[in-house]
């Protein structure tokens, strides 16, 4: 399983996400100082009923919480779009 699949699987499980899309954008950042540690740059779209009633800050905290271990290593940067199922359908 590559990093991208690992993150998708973990978010689906931890956040009961109904839809997860992860894009690995590490190649766009190759060579810059932050990439030196080996952590990747990812863009995430996560749809979960758990985001219902939460502001963006709280939603992102949930995502970061689910990926706490990964944020220490394989993820250097994560751009997050966290939507509820009804926002996603809209």
């Amino acid at each position: 399983m590559d990093r991208r699949e690992h993150i998708e699987t973990k978010l689906t499980r931890e956040l009961e996400a109904t839809h997860v899309e992860i894009v690995d954008e590490s190649h766009l950042h190759a060579g810059h100082a932050g990439a030196a540690g080996g952590g990747g740059h990812f863009r995430a779209l996560i749809v979960s009923p758990r985001f219902e009633g939460l502001a963006s800050l709280a939603r992102q905290r949930l995502v970061y919480g689910a990926l706490a271990a990964e944020m220490e290593g394989e993820i250097h940067a994560l751009s997050i779009r966290a939507l509820t199922p009804s926002e996603w359908r809209a």
């Binding site: 100082a33 963006s56 800050l57 992102q60 905290r61 751009s79």
Partner: protein
């Protein structure tokens, strides 16, 4: 329990009404996400404070715990954590950031 680095961050966020913890400084950001937030703040404010976490490894680590947020940049307004790059951009697009930063707000 008092932790000196925690106390330093506390003092910084209280001292500056708008404070951005970032990589690099306002004129030369060292990361695309920091640069994006600087660009947004520059368009709204003539003056605000930045702290370069690359210049201080203690703060760089401690700010993540202080805010319970694992990434840089981090924006504080009025001593309160607002978010990172995605959230700042969102607040800007909805107009909430402009309200938050308005003088006397």
């Amino acid at each position: 329990m008092s932790d000196p680095t925690h106390d330093r961050i506390d003092a910084l966020v209280k001292e500056h009404r708008v404070l951005l913890f970032m990589k690099g400084d306002r004129r030369v950001p060292q990361c695309g996400f920091s640069a994006t937030v600087v660009q947004i703040l520059d368009s709204l404010l003539p003056e605000y404070a930045t702290f370069d976490v690359l210049s201080d490894d203690e703060i760089r680590q401690a700010i993540k715990e202080y805010s319970s947020w694992p990434t840089i940049p981090q924006l504080y307004v009025g001593g309160e954590f607002q978010g990172g790059c995605d959230i700042v951009r969102e607040l800007y697009e909805t107009g909430e950031l402009q309200q938050l930063l308005a003088p006397g707000a």
